[in-house]
Amino acid sequence: MPIPVAYSVRNLWARKFTTALTAGGMALVVFVFTAVMMLDAGLKKTLVATGQPNNILVTRRSSGTEIQSGVARAQAAIIESQPEIAIGPGGVRMASKEVVVLITQPKRNTGVPTNVTVRGVGLQGLTLRPQIRVISGRMFRPDSAEIAVGRSIAERFNGTGIGERLRFGGRDWTVVGVFDAGGSAFDSEVWGDGEQMIQAFRRTAFSSVAARLADPSRFDALKPRLESDPRLTLDVKREQTFYEEQSQVMSNFISYLGLTLSVIFSVGAMIGAMITMYAAVATRTSEIGVLRALGFRRGSILAAFLVEALFLGLAGWVVGLALASMMQLVQISTMNWQSFSELAFRFTLTPEIVWKSLVFALVMGLAGGFLPAIRAARLKIVDALRAA
């Protein structure tokens, strides 16, 4: 017959101060663990959401980023004319030749000069990205010196309000609208007309070509053909894959650092739990003796103390997760090392993170309570009763 769970819970309640400190320590560890995973999830979500499943992105071979890439006009024309590329209303090819560059712009609160991505798109650039909606003002007109800015840019940078002018490439560009790109990386970009920009920046080549496939399954036929074409020396990727790869370096850094920290910190929290549980066993020696005398088995005593430690972990998880979920309100913006440009993303809580952190907290509690519980279970009845 097991000892009621209520016994374990009430024991925790009886020493509120100690329980609060121990669970508080665990809560902080759970917080760090969860927050780091949320950061990583947010980064990936932002970059994956940037790509559309049926779009492809073509860049120069092994350039890695659009900024380092270059696609000559002749090459772009070859890509556009591939039979796999979808044809839109009016018979236009669903492809956008794009110019992607960085400009340096001061941030609003701090004045820190920051690299901002400027993208000049073709006529189909907006149709290819249906996630983009104008939230104020209007979209830029083709063949004009007008630009529209993503919402993260509008919130964070000087001179990006509607009607204001940005100066780059030797001319002024008027901001005519702010768009929302559904939490994708485009939210941190400035968009304008591709042909205007290629001239302003005195480029002879585009940076990349984005295109819609008529049938996404034809990708496997298109990719080897284009990549083996001697005129091209280009990389062909699904847009989603391309942006996912942009998150790799940063994501690896965050998850390695986070994992190392969580493991190290959890050692501290487990030690805290161990101290508490050893004290709990020591002060309750006579109680254990009585319970054993009443006929409870060693296994039941072991279970009772393990349950108590698990509850400590559980309390830490609840508080830690609550703290971490508040981080969802926080938006982080930093330079993505791969593209060298500003990227804004949010802490994102996913169901996977919730259960991972629960397992983590329970394992911490269990590991902290295991040795003390064994000590409690191994006490001899006579010795335990005499301790009173």
Binding site: S62, T104, F201, G268, I271
Partner: protein
């Protein structure tokens, strides 16, 4: 003397608990030290910058190059002692994760401007003779086991193709703060190749490095340089090397701030553990403290006993933690290789570690100390553990 003896005896009474607390402290102080070192490694590039060196780049952003013709115009500016240039190459050595910076430079003028990079004169002469030669830092050589004479192939991301270099010399830093994780090679090699491949990319350089004769005239010279190219096809932005480096750090500041916050969270975690230990200890000994009061010891003395014990444990934990920080950070630096150019535990970090440990020791003793000092004798003697 009597007091110290009591404190030590008390600390050792509950061996297991003290050892566990110490272990927690060591882990916390150690990880705090490592995190602080990571943060200072972030700023290492800016630390090593000389006050008289300016960097001139394209005003739009670093992605845009500057024409070679600017070199002579900048040199003619009053107050400029020397001009050199460097071009970011962004090549990949074997795997993208093997990151180290590579610059195409004008070798004679560039290295003359950086006296902190030490090269053997004979090897340097060999480098000058070999157009495909390269100079690499000691840290790159160590991380990727390269030696003089080895071939170093890089896959270009900005400049397509595979580029082969021969390591001609390995430079050392003048002190531990010098970045020895960079690679330099002849800009001429890059330029000749670009001339053949795409004329529009030829005769372009990434940034100009300007050496100013007088540190007081740095601001004046940087304005003069930018004024020179105002309204030209490539307007420039000139700033001190330090500001230029800080510019990079600032853009990833969110991560630095996160690491800073996390490093203090670990201190709070250990504070909770330590406060718990002291609270339990004091609660168990309440009857003893009451007895001491009966014997005539003042409440202040009793509070001091608890404080002394707490600080003593914290101090021992801190000492072990700090002692471990050095070997562990050396090991860490060897693991991450060229990712952090300079990874050294600074004096400031050690001071912060000491302060944090003392703070934890003192704060953990406050609540239990007050309780023990103010408890009524009769109540204390009756207290159940």
């Amino acid at each position: 003397m009597q007091f110290l003896k009591l404190v030590l005896r008390n600390a050792l009474r509950h061996r297991l608990r003290t050892v566990l607390t110490l272990l927690g402290l060591v882990v916390a102080i150690l990880s705090f030290g490592l995190l602080q070192t990571v943060v200072s490694a972030w700023y290492a590039g800016a630390e090593g910058a000389a006050p008289t060196r300016l960097v001139t780049r394209n005003a739009i952003s670093l992605v845009f190059a500057l024409p070679l013709s600017y070199r002579d115009q900048i040199r003619a500016v009053d107050g400029v002692r020397a001009v050199s240039h460097a071009t970011w190459f962004a090549g990949i050595y074997q795997d993208p994760k093997n990151f180290f910076p590579q610059f195409a430079i004008e070798p004679r003028t560039y290295l003359a401007m950086y006296p902190e990079y030490l090269v053997a004169p004979q090897e340097f002469a060999a480098f000058l003779r070999d157009r495909k030669g390269a100079i690499i830092g000691r840290k790159i050589a160590g991380t990727y086991h390269l030696k003089v004479g080895d071939v170093l192939p890089l896959r270009g991301t900005i400049y397509p193709g595979t580029w082969e270099f021969t390591v001609r010399t390995i430079y050392d830093g003048v002190d531990a703060k010098t970045d020895t994780s960079q690679m330099f090679f002849h800009w001429e090699y890059l330029n000749e190749t670009m001339k053949k491949r795409s004329r529009s990319h030829a005769d372009q350089v990434g940034v100009y490095v300007v050496d100013v004769a007088d540190a007081d005239r740095v601001a004046e010279v940087s304005h003069a340089v930018d004024a020179l190219f105002k309204n030209s096809l490539a307007e420039t932005l000139t700033e001190t090397e330090r500001a230029f480096q800080i510019g990079f750090v600032k853009q990833t500041e969110a991560l630095v701030v996160a690491i800073q916050i996390v490093s203090y969270i670990v201190i709070v975690i250990i504070l909770a553990v330590m406060a718990n230990t002291m609270a339990m200890t004091a609660r168990e000994r309440l009857a003893e403290y009451a007895t001491l009061k009966v014997l005539g010891f003042s409440p202040v003395y009793i509070a001091a006993l608890i404080l002394g014990e707490s600080v003593a444990i914290a101090a021992i934990g801190a000492a072990i933690g700090i002692a471990l920080t050095f070997p562990v950070s050396d090991w860490f630096a060897a693991q991450v290789g060229t990712l952090f150019p300079v990874f050294k535990v600074s004096g400031e970090t050690v001071i912060l570690q000491v302060l944090c440990a003392l703070g934890v020791g003192v704060v953990a003793a406050i609540a239990p100390g007050r309780r023990a000092a103010t408890v009524k004798i009769a109540e204390g003697l009756r207290a159940i553990r």
